[in-house]
């Protein structure tokens, strides 16, 4: 819009004029300006200046008779004049003093008024008289003085006002008063003016159609002054249409200039109209109007030599309208309206659309200018220098200098054209402007998320840059486009863009880009579009066709092969690939060049043995239009030892061979050539050295001495997800023949670790025995491998997988004694065990380093394990080593289950003294079967028998058995409660499996405590061979109750009798209490004896004394006989009891025997004759 003069762009503002009393001007004008609607002020310091608003100067040069200048549609400066020099109202300011008092001054006032009236009369400008008075003297002004003033000024009373500057409130009032009067008068002024012109229109009293138009314009402007938009709009439209009429009819000017003038005027009308419509929110109407405006002028291009003007004009129409749309926020128009009439689509509501077209027409103009200039006569006579814009809008004339006055002389179309063209020449190129417009459009589209339209603008910009050979910018813009076109598969569009990019990179001589773009282009699926007819202006690359594609292909490979091209040799500009400029392209999964070279690599096996050869299939595919020959392929793996090179026999000489690593594996094939969309499949064996992942990373194709493409290897399995052509109808064969590999083949395989060649032997000797340090020999013998940095891992695991601590025990801290099984240590043979580097041993885990072993060597160690409870466990031993230094580790695992058994079972028995039966009340009360928790009589010597049974399969040597007091009891007994004596310590005895060993102890409780702890049996034993160490097995004995028996019976009789010989038999009843005990006793008869003595009776036994029953017995038969049984019943305790049968048996010899005491002793079995030593 800045093309238009200010006065046209903005709605007109009322102009008033104040004269005299300069000091107040500032205040007044600022006030007026802030009025609503604002009023501009033309301030004249004093009355001498009023001539400025006088008609005269221009009027009279109108008077000057000049046929040509008279005619024109709209005066260039008319509007400006009315906004700056022709006030609607003039206010004359006088000081009150001038009125009253000095007549000279009054006279002055009158003359001033006269002059003023004279000036404004012609224009019927309204007049206001302002009297300025001081606040204090405001009453000094007399009615009649004002009246006389009014008469002088010939204005009615209300237009004579007083103005009081020196009091705030008064000043305000005065200003407002002034403002209102101005406003009122201005409206009337403009109305009258408007009406005046309008009547002429209505009376059709205008000479030519030009006047018609002009009058419409004026009326409209006056209406605008009054803010009567409707009226204004109406008049503008009338004018516009009238103007359109003229095109055919008017003959006033030479055709070109006439057209130019009309367009210029039409432009102004149009601008006014659209502005009014848009500001009135009538967007749809505005657009309809614009469409029609555009339609009615579009065709009027005028003759070719000048038609660039037309295009420029048209472009401006679009640009201005776009700007108007943009400024009126009404652009987001109601959707209803857009859909309602299908004839106008949403697009027409978008400034972007107009910007874009503006650019398009400007481009049009540009090309026209170029043509016109080319046709312009070389020598430009300076005549057109004197040509200037004339008085009228859109007219030009030659300024003839006639001495004192100068004359506007009409010019010929030729002159005009020449002039216009030279003007063009002075202007700077349109390109920048075009690009600016496109940029605007681009941004507008972007905001609407119209990415494609935006891209189109980008394309146009890029092309413009290209034309102005700003290749850097051009390339940069084109580059933005490729991704969209690729992604959406618009091959034709991509083709055009790439074509430009290719040229740009050529111009910028960037080989890298040039080659890449060329390759991509030549690999484009042209076939799918070549069905279309030949297309023109597809950019530098020409129409996409197979031939074209092949040419590009040829050119590229000529360059990389460093051949000299025959005819198109020169057009490949500065692009060269050679030793100074080698070129290396990378192609990955997402690269657009994937179609140029696609490599798929598949191992035939997912898992391979090291050193064992496996097959790898390498498939290459190219979409390039013509066959591509590759000099050599370099296949790279993550394990670089596996890298190898495939050489094309045809191209041996190619220098690229030279820089092959000498010890590289090199395969040669007769020829490596890729045909369009045909897989080239090569299969090779490959050996991996190291275990672990083996992955093919890159395949590098060398073409020509200094060009290579390195292509990320792909797995066939993953290629289904990334088809080469998303949208193209192309048969896509699978990279390998074998469907399985095609479906699941991978470019990576797993290399296992080599088989171990070392024996690991766990020697196991039967079950382990609880308590002993069980030694388990581990032997490893190296066959085939030497063992380096070997490491032995030992692990004890519960057979049921559970840990070695039983859950109950785990809570209290796992001290070794609640650990069932424990790895005590690893005993290595000191002779071999040179390095003792790592040796970690925990309760169930051990780690031992193994010294270096040569092939054939062997090494062994013993695991020392101890069982605390009988339990089967699993022993895992694993050896990790590397066959040679640096080589990856190899692992062997062995495991063995070992049973832990209890070696001996220990049991015991307690017995009372012989033929002496204490009355133990507890025993009576208790039920017989639970007689086990024994109770012992205090101060009586009883007997403890302990037996140990060997329950293993091996003989055990029993070293000793003893009873030790538990440290527990040690504590809680101050003085000994009992003495335990053992028999003679027997020398070690050998127990065969299952055999039982007995030992007898006597126990004599002394103190009367209720309980007695007997301590624990302690057995020292070892396996029956010297090497094995002795083991101590402890087993604590159960506690026994103690009680002092009230009564004790002792039977006394000789050790034996002889048949028929009498002997005496006493039964002593001791009363150990301090009470008198009543005792019943009875004696049962016996067949084997005749006896004399009391049978049964009741008697009293005195405290702490004894009562003796004595009998005389005569044996009647021989052998071991039961003595007559005595039964005692204590009345107090109502407890009867008998001596044990054992106690009351006697042996009767048939006749008196003869023997020594020695054998006699022997003859008695151990259990009946306790070895007894009484303290």
């Amino acid at each position: 819009m800045e093309h238009y003069p200010e006065e046209l762009r903005t709605p007109p503002v009322t102009l008033v004029c104040i004269v005299g009393h300069q000091d107040l001007h500032a205040t007044i004008s600022t006030h007026l300006h802030s009025e609503q609607p604002p009023i501009n002020t033309l301030a004249l310091p004093d009355f001498t200046k009023i001539s400025i608003i006088d008609k005269s100067p221009k009027e009279n040069d109108n008077q000057l008779p000049s046929a040509y200048t008279s005619s024109g549609i709209i005066k260039r400066d008319w509007l400006l004049k009315h906004r700056t020099r022709v006030p609607a109202v003039v206010a004359a300011l006088f000081d009150a003093d001038q009125l009253s008092g000095d007549p000279a001054q009054w006279l002055q006032v009158c003359t001033d008024l006269e002059n003023l009236k004279a000036v404004i009369k012609g224009r019927n400008i309204k007049l206001v008289v302002v009297v300025v008075v001081r606040f204090n003297s405001k009453d000094s002004i007399t009615e009649d003085s004002l009246a006389s003033l009014r008469k002088r000024a010939e204005v009615d009373a209300k237009y004579v006002i007083t103005f009081i500057p020196d009091d705030a409130s008064e000043l305000n009032q005065s200003l407002n008063r002034l403002g209102n009067i101005f406003g009122e008068l201005a409206v009337t002024f403009y109305r009258d003016e408007g009406r005046r012109v309008k009547t002429r229109l209505e009376k059709k009293s205008y000479g030519s159609i030009e006047f018609n138009v002009r009058y419409c314009f004026k009326v409209a402007i006056y209406a605008e002054f009054r803010r009567d938009w409707a009226e204004a709009l109406r008049m503008y439209e009338d004018g516009y249409h009238a103007l359109r009429e003229m095109i055919g009819t008017s003959t006033r000017l030479p055709p070109i200039q006439r057209l130019v003038e009309i367009k210029m005027v039409a432009e102004q009308f149009h601008f006014k109209i659209s502005t009014l419509l848009l500001h009135g929110g009538k967007v749809v109407e505005a657009i309809k109007w614009f469409r029609q405006h555009n339609a009615s002028y579009k065709k009027l291009t005028g003759p070719t030599e000048i038609n660039f003007f037309h295009w420029e004009w048209l472009a401006r129409q679009f640009l201005v309208f776009a700007e108007l749309l943009e400024t009126t926020n009404a652009t987001i128009s109601s959707p209803a309206s857009t859909v309602a009439d299908r004839t106008s689509s949403d697009w027409e509501f978008r400034p972007a659309y107009y910007y874009q077209l503006a650019a398009q027409y400007l481009k049009e103009k540009k090309s026209c200018v170029e043509i016109a200039v080319s046709m312009m006569p070389a020598e430009t006579d300076e005549s057109c220098d004197s040509i200037v814009p004339s008085l009228y809008v859109g007219q030009y004339a030659r300024l003839l200098d006639l001495g004192e006055t100068s004359v506007m002389q009409l010019i010929t179309d030729e002159d005009y054209t020449l002039f216009a063209l030279t003007e063009e020449g002075k202007k700077l190129g349109d390109s920048t402007e075009i690009i600016a417009l496109l940029k605007k459009a681009y941004e507008a589209y972007n905001n609407l998320k119209f990415q494609r339209a935006a891209s189109f603008c980008t394309l146009l910009m890029a092309k413009e840059y290209f034309l102005t050979s700003d290749y850097t910018n051009s390339k940069q813009h084109f580059d933005k486009l490729t991704s969209l076109y690729r992604q959406e598969g618009w091959v034709t569009l991509l083709w055009e863009v790439l074509g430009y990019l290719r040229e740009c990179s050529r111009k910028l001589s960037s080989a890298q880009d040039f080659i890449s773009y060329s390759l991509e282009m030549s690999a484009l699926p042209i076939s799918s579009i070549s069905s279309l007819q030949e297309m023109k202006d597809c950019g530098p690359a020409g129409s996409p066709s197979l031939k074209q594609v092949e040419n590009i292909h040829k050119e590229v490979f000529a360059i990389v092969r460093e051949e000299t091209l025959n005819e198109e040799g020169e057009n490949m500009g500065g692009i060269e690939v050679n030793s100074d400029h080698p070129l290396h392209l990378e192609i990955d999964l997402v690269s657009p060049l994937r179609v140029v070279l696609l490599t798929s690599v598949a191992f035939h096996e997912q898992i391979v043995k090291p050193q064992a050869p496996t097959s790898i299939t390498l498939s290459l595919l190219s979409q390039l239009p013509s066959p591509v020959e590759i000099d050599q392929l370099e296949i790279q793996f993550n394990q670089s030892e596996c890298n190898f090179i495939i050489v094309n026999a045809q191209r041996r000489e190619s220098s690229s061979i030279s820089h092959i690593h000498p010890d590289r594996r090199v395969e040669t094939v007769p020829v490596i050539q890729l045909f369009t969309n045909k897989w080239l499949r090569l299969t090779y064996d490959i050996k991996s050295v190291n275990s672990g992942k083996l992955e093919c990373t890159y395949v590098i194709a060398r073409i020509g001495p200094h060009f290579s493409i390195s292509c990320g290897a792909e797995s066939p399995a993953n290629m289904h997800d990334l088809p080469l052509w998303k949208f193209e109808e192309r048969l896509e064969a699978s990279p390998t023949k074998d469907p399985a590999i095609a479906f699941s083949g991978m470019k990576v395989t797993q290399v296992e670790e080599p088989d171990p060649q070392v024996d690991l032997i766990l020697g196991s000797t039967g079950p382990a025995l609880v308590g002993e340090n069980f030694l388990l020999p581990v032997t490893l013998t190296s066959k085939g491998h030497s063992v380096e940095s070997g490491e032995l891992k030992i692990n004890l695991v519960d057979t049921r997988g559970v840990g070695l601590l039983s859950p109950r025990e785990t809570e209290h801290t796992s001290s070794s004694d609640n650990l069932h099984v424990e790895l005590l240590g690893v005993l290595c043979d000191p002779t071999q065990d040179n390095n003792d580097g790592i040796r970690k041993v925990q309760q169930s885990f051990g780690l031992v380093s193994v010294p270096f072993l040569n092939v054939g060597d062997s090494w062994s160690c013993n695991l020392e394990i101890q069982w605390h409870r009988p339990k089967p466990i699993m022993l895992y031993v694993s050896l990790g080593y590397s066959p040679s230094s640096g080589a990856p580790k190899v692992h062997i695992h062995k495991s063995l289950q070992i049973e832990g058994k209890t070696p001996v079972v220990i049991s015991h028995r307690l017995m009372l003294p012989f033929r002496r039966d204490p009355l133990l009340l507890s025993r009576l009360k208790r039920s017989p079967e639970s007689g086990q928790t024994v109770s012992l009589p205090v101060n009586e010597t009883s007997i403890l028998v302990v037996n140990a049974t060997n329950c293993t399969e091996v003989p055990l040597k029993l070293l000793s058995m003893s009873i030790s007091e538990d440290d527990a009891t040690q504590k809680n007994k101050a003085k000994t409660t009992c003495t335990i004596q053992s028999g003679i310590d027997n020398d070690p005895t050998l127990l065969v499996p299952g055999e039982e060993f007995k030992k007898v102890f006597t126990v004599k409780p002394e103190l009367n405590a209720s309980k007695l702890n007997l301590g624990s049996v302690c057995l020292r034993w070892r396996r029956d061979h010297e090497s094995s160490k002795e083991v101590v097995t402890k087993q604590s004995l159960p506690d026994v109750n103690l009680e002092s028996p009230p009564l004790v019976i002792t039977l006394e009789c000789p050790p034996h009798g002889v048949l028929g010989e009498p002997f005496t038999y006493f039964a002593r009843i001791h009363n150990q209490t301090k009470l008198l005990q009543e005792v019943k006793f009875s004696l049962s008869d016996s067949q084997s004896f005749v006896l004399s003595g009391p049978h049964n009776d009741t008697t009293f036994v005195l405290p702490l004394s004894e009562y003796i029953l004595s009998y005389k017995l005569v044996p009647l038969s021989s052998g071991s006989l039961q003595l007559p049984r005595v039964t005692i019943t204590s009345v107090r305790y109502s407890a009867g009891f008998q001596p044990t049968t054992a106690a009351s048996t006697i042996f009767i010899f048939p006749s008196k025997p003869q023997f020594l005491s020695e054998p006699e002793k022997k003859s008695i079995p151990a259990d009946q004759a306790p070895q007894q030593i009484t303290a």
């Binding site: 859909v339 949403d346 609407l448 297309m535 998303k726 949208f727 193209e728």
Partner: protein, 143 residues
């Protein structure tokens, strides 16, 4: 007269595009078709804007260029048909009718077993059929 007709796939990729005009503006037509996709997207993505004709396959006028009018049609299977014509005032009915016929031609083309779903339509029969349809229709409004 119809100057260009295009079938555009799910990812806004051209499945078929044919212009019926002297060669030199074929590419321009491709650009026009491509840009028109913006409007289709807009229409479909914010239905409120497209109001009543929400699910209708016929999308109506997409956008006017200086010398063309571009119409759109969106099948239930998200395939777009774009029509570019030089006739500046056209009855919707005629365009609808054209699209209907074009659609059935398209159907038989994609029913060809050798047509891969979502890929370009290369069938010659289709091409012939389309050009026949195009020849047969005329959008000249009778006043």
């Amino acid at each position: 007269m119809i100057v260009c007709i295009a079938v555009v796939g799910h990812q806004n990729n051209p499945l078929y595009i044919q212009s019926f005009t002297e060669a030199d503006d074929a590419l321009k037509l491709h650009h026009i078709v491509h840009c028109s996709l913006d409007v289709v997207d807009e229409r479909v993505n914010n239905p409120k804007k497209s109001g009543p004709m929400l699910n209708e396959t016929f999308l109506g006028l997409l956008y006017p260029t200086e010398n063309y009018k571009v119409y759109g049609y969106l099948t239930n299977t998200k395939v777009k048909f774009i029509l570019v014509t030089t006739d500046l005032d056209v009855r919707d009915a005629d365009v609808r009718n054209f699209f209907r016929r074009f659609h059935s031609a398209y159907l038989d083309a994609v029913s060809n077993p050798f047509h891969v779903p979502g890929k370009k339509i290369t069938s010659k029969t289709f091409a012939e059929r389309v050009s026949n349809i195009v020849k047969s229709v005329s959008f000249h409004t009778t006043g």
